[in-house]
Symmetry: C2
């Protein structure tokens, strides 16, 4: 038996998130189906992050515990041969027995993309949030700096999650033009439920001028979800990378 850590990219448009919550199909399920076809074993894929419906990934991680003779570096090719075209295994490597894709993670990086044009550009509609009001990128970037550090992010957490603590550490945050998008990049030791999308929604309100950059400090201190902005739409969000010490 081997512990194999998969690096997974997907287009979340046609899935009901990583883990199926209500109706529809989850990405996890599709990978478990592919594992059955390749390994002839009913495996459970333990994901590092439960991305929502419509959210994308370049570097999701999933752990499988499997009995196989397929060389580890060939596993991505084997699984990709039976996966649908909107899910791709980018890497596989063996990890120690006590490794956990969620608890062993030391850093996660997300990007949130905004298309800021007068009219929508259809080819980008599933990979960005569309905002037609002029956004002040400079103010948004200034605001994003207030996220950096160790804070109680209760104001940036949707109801319905049960976590021991709402304290998280943000290592980096920035908003910059990356043509054709405005991109909010954020990295931290962990994120609460909908946290990046609520951060993005709050930054959008700052970009439009409804809030000031310095309001971020007060919103964090308030621990009040109602003072932060709306949860920005899922299609703008991509899970870029998850880092481990190993």
């Amino acid at each position: 038996m081997k512990n194999i850590l998969l690096t997974i990219a997907y287009d979340g448009t046609n899935y009901n998130g990583w883990q199926r919550q209500h109706n529809g199909i989850g990405i996890q399920e599709k990978i478990e189906e592919a594992c059955y076809k390749i390994f002839r074993q009913n495996l459970k894929v333990i994901g590092a992050s439960r991305t929502d419906t419509g959210v994308h990934a370049l570097g999701q991680r999933g752990l499988i515990h499997v009995d196989t003779n397929i060389p580890v570096d060939r596993i991505p090719y084997a699984l990709n041969s039976v996966l649908p075209e909107d899910i791709v295994i980018r890497d596989a490597k063996e990890v120690p027995e006590d490794f956990h894709p969620r608890y062993s993670a030391i850093k996660k990086t997300y990007h949130y993309r905004i298309l800021n044009e007068k009219f929508q550009i259809p080819q980008y509609r599933n990979i960005s949030a569309f905002i037609s009001s002029d956004l002040d990128i400079h103010a948004m970037n200034e605001a994003a700096q207030h996220f950096v550090g160790t804070h109680d992010f209760a104001a940036f957490c949707s109801a319905g999650s049960s976590v021991k603590t709402t304290i998280r550490t943000i290592y980096e945050a920035s908003v910059q033009k990356q043509s054709p998008f405005i991109t909010f990049k954020v990295a931290g030791n962990g994120f609460l439920y909908n946290m990046v999308r609520i951060m993005a929604g709050t930054l959008i309100e700052i970009g439009i001028g409804k809030k000031e950059p310095s309001d971020i400090k007060d919103i964090i201190l308030s621990k009040n979800r109602n003072l932060a902005g709306k949860t920005a739409p899922p299609q703008g969000l991509t899970l870029i990378e998850i880092n481990y010490e190993i």
Copy 2:
């Protein structure tokens, strides 16, 4: 009656090109249906460029001759309210009676996007061509310079088109990294059938090392389609802009 020039963006993934050729639905047809809903007239939309199945546009142009009281600047909003989400009218303006969207064009700009990674990134699969072999961007850019100028591009034209002349003028051509893509940008006074995709396919062969940058000169002189590279896949191509003197 007014002559209205529309600027049109679309995601070509789910259409059988601008103009329906065989089965399936053309983008032109969808805009004509939207025009009927808004203007209650059976209009013909005369397109500037016949993009193929899967090819995208940011700046396609279409001309309609219409009797309407809707202010010209409101026409995009009216049409967008009844168009599917993968087609967007970005602008409308009145043009003279003798204006023709194809014959009056003085410059067209296309971008061809390549995703050059070991594995496909699913969220980009419909807006780029995927190449897993390492590409030499410098060699590709050097090769692209040989396209610039007035040449007989018969070697870069698919069979099945009937044009008076295969001579075209290319104003600019470059290949550059535009993360996450490698982008071939080309502007000219006009393009032959599949010309940009054959140029892109030839540049890819140069990037892989199957051809040399200087081969472009000989391929142009040969006027032989068989010496150029394969027609690169449609999803990498976007019609960016069409310019007129007015």
